[in-house]
Amino acid sequence: MTTELTLVTVTINGVETRVPEGELLIKAAQDEGTYIPRFCWHERMSPVGMCRMCLVEIETPRGPMMVTACTSSVADGMVVDTESEDVKKAQEAILEFLLANHPLDCPVCDKGGECPLQDQALAYGPGESRFVEIKRSFEKPIPISELVLLDRERCILCAQCTRFSDEISGDPLIEFQHRGNMTEVNTFPDLPFSSYFSGNTVQICPVGALTATPYRFRARPWDLQKVESSSLQDTAHPRIEIHASQNEVLRYIGVDNDATNHGWLSDKARFGFEYLRSDQRLTSPLVRKGGELVEVSWTEAIDTAANRLDLIKGEDGGAALAVIGGAQGTNEDAYSISKFARVALGSNNVDARLDDALASHFLSASVARATIADIDDADTVVLWAPDLKEEHPTLYLRVRRAAQELGATLVVIHPRATGLDDRASHKLTYRPGGGYELLDELANGDHPEVSQAFAAEKVVALVGIASHADGPQLAESVAALVRQKAGHAKLMPLNSRANTYGALDMGLAPDLLPGRVGLDTIGCANLAASWGDIPAVIGRDTRQILQGLDSGEVRGLVLVGADPINDLPEPSIAVDALDAAEYVIAIDLFLNDSNRNADVILPASGFSEKEGTVTNVEGRVQKVNQIRPAPGQARTDWAILDDIATRMGFSLGLASAEGITKEIAMVSPAYEDLTWDSLEWDHRDGIVVPIHGAQAINHIPVALQGSKAPTAQLTLHVARVMYDNGVRLQHSPSLHKLGPGAVAHLNPGDAPSIGARDGHTVKVVTTRGEGEFTCVLDEGTPTGVVYVPFNQQGASSLGSDPVVRVTTS
């Protein structure tokens, strides 16, 4: 909404300025160069006016009046004094009051050196305290969650943490308790602050009251090296600042930008760096000799890998080779994989998605794509997608804000409770696997309130795979329906794994080339001009690659940062395939279930150890940066692939990450003007790459397949949650323990017939697998549904077959 800003004239300390009408005085003054001290005000949250530090004097017909600048809106003709005698008196008094009960443990406080209380005491304070009474004391520090510690006597009661968890993240688990001088923040006893966003409260706490377990006592702020980057643990790529000391990453801080995250991070994105310093990292090349993995030199490892790939290619052609992976790295890595597969291997058997994703043609369709900013403007937001709170935390916060603050009508369609239900105007719950049935109903106008929501002017639909039982095709049909009902609707197809969009842009799909170019298009011909021959037939996707390995049609596999055994909805396919595979080369940070038996294992550099670009869910390209060297002999994916290609007799010409970005800009029209320079200086928030430049496939099939609602008594709903058993989380000790583990949720109404009880073990059987789970009785799971979080420690895989039997063991 582009409303015209009306300017009004205000006089601040004798100087007249023009500021936007209605803006808060504290902000207007700041933009105009006058800093008014404050503790409780936060630009992204509603003002509470509690700390009283921002008191200023304004003139009124009844004489000067003290008001808080954080709660007063500017009005035409307002005359403000921010440094009168009375204002100074008030500022001094408030600092003295705040310090009266504040412990002087700055030397051991994490916040020491970056503490607004320290800074403002120096700038506006009275020098020394006249408080000789006994200070308030509390037991300290108390862990209020696995990640956050609370020192109550340091708290200055600014309500930043309580407001954040109530207003922004929507889980009010930390609250003021008691009143008056006894007021403190705390959780309910034995009910931890287990919010997916708890780390933000540590970041915004102006003192050292809330500290993070993974960081506490690890560094002093003045020792830190800092670099900006974008997190790859969230599909929106929230902007972060990486802080490191002595080559060790110590923390991530959310950077406030309008484009993506407003400064907020999920705990996964904030604390998911510990794996980088794990001593399990691969640090030298390994080659299997006589059944054992042996450390070898890079030359030997590259030779071994290249020779075998050459051999297979010579015998059976490129079709017998394949690459899986590339969604976790940079665009430059992805581009190198894409080029390596097409040019060196001569194969289109390449896929960054792990059989759990939307179709590549859908993900790269150019029809009316929504940006994150479009969510702010929307009149209606339709969400038929994974639970955003679990899988797309940044989008979750944005949609929550749109519904709560910006007046959007929110329609949530999902098989069970989601994190946004409390903000939804309309919620439709359907049986997992019954998506098409509901789609038919919607098409027939059976849910008039939803039809009405579609009729709004600005509609944004976020579509993705809400349940594995529905399969990836449903989302396309949903998109088609949305476009049928609301022709002008904008779509945001959602996919898990951080840089899937970048990977697809780089052609990491069997039917796409860099620039989202189809194989039979003019774009392909253009690319061939610089790459050389590109195989013409559409390659295999991940599932087909794995099936090919099993049948022997595919003989050699390169895995780049991928663990299909743990990531595939039907892991048995991957297990069988990797068992049968003739030759596997893995490029990775860690050994995992999928690469453990590989023939060659090459250590790769990880996030914060390399530079490059990444592309988020809306097509925004941002720069990621390096702050530390990779451990041991680890190298970037692109350098490794370039070497292998060279040994195979192909020159990929990949010499530096920046060089690759230039090449991408050259060959891919969408990335045309993109340079590191512009991303570092003019566009720190990144640039949304245009889709129109690409020869995109923009046909979305309408696939109202008629209803095939599941008939079984109980239906399985498998969905990802924030903390799973992924390899990076496995090696991040602070987060790894936070996953729910092997649990199966049942509605309390279903419990008696099964004989299940909360906390007891139940056995869940599907036609694809069975396993034992701890039973959780949960009103959020509808009757007739068994909900099992995907890929959990200790959990057996059940596939996505909807028909289940549940028994007590």
Partner: protein, 207 residues
């Protein structure tokens, strides 16, 4: 999955129905929770949270703001001595000390048998009859230290099921703020205010 009796649940439903928004029922429901268990337990707060659809932390945040929601085991009789300005001027501190001494319970505490809790409170609106004492919020005005001792002894020996303001006033009180002369049979049965509809219009009338 309420742990409350069906009767209490029905009351909870009636209370909630009185308000335009569920959360408004928090305070009456906290009293309801107290009357179930004698004081406000963690379970009680969680239950209130479920009824009002807010988190237990939010319930605690509200409950701990107010002085009348006792979150620790409280005696059958809660003796509240006013020591605010007017009562202090007229000997309220002495009354408190007499109560503490006679009962052996320091203010802010409860005896081991769970019979008596003693507290001192700020003004309870009985300044015209200061010093004033409440037992389970039932008022006695014009209390002397000696009468206060008698009151404690009486509570300990008579152990009335229901404490009634008029009855105690006659036995242990003297001057009143105003002479209401209207006797009332109601009285409190526990350390929470005796107001049966608990914040709502009597349902039989309003419906």
């Amino acid at each position: 999955m309420s742990r409350w009796s069906e009767g209490t649940q029905e009351r909870a439903r009636q209370i909630i129905a009185r308000y335009p928004e569920k959360r408004s029922a928090v305070m009456p429901l906290l009293y309801l929770a107290m009357s179930e268990e004698g004081y406000l337990t963690g379970d009680g707060m969680e239950e209130v949270g479920r009824w009002c659809e807010i988190t237990p932390a939010q319930v605690l945040s509200v409950a701990s703001f107010y002085t009348m929601y006792k979150r620790e085991r409280t005696g059958q009789y809660l003796v509240s001595c006013c020591t605010s300005i007017t009562c202090m001027l007229l000997g309220g501190d002495d009354v408190l000390h007499a109560v503490e001494d006679e009962s052996g319970v320091p203010h802010g505490e409860t005896d081991d048998d769970g019979l008596l809790s003693v507290e001192h409170v700020e003004c309870i609106g009985a300044c015209g009859g200061a010093p004033a004492v409440q037992v389970n919020y039932e008022l006695i005005e014009g209390v002397s230290p000696e009468k206060a001792r008698q009151l404690i002894r009486w509570l300990e020996s008579a152990r009335p099921e229901v404490v009634n303001s008029d009855e105690m006033q006659a036995l242990f009180g003297a001057r009143r703020s105003f002479d209401w002369a209207i006797s009332e049979v109601n009285g409190a049965t526990g350390p929470y205010p005796a107001f049966q509809p608990l914040g709502t219009v009597g349902s039989e009338v309003a419906d």
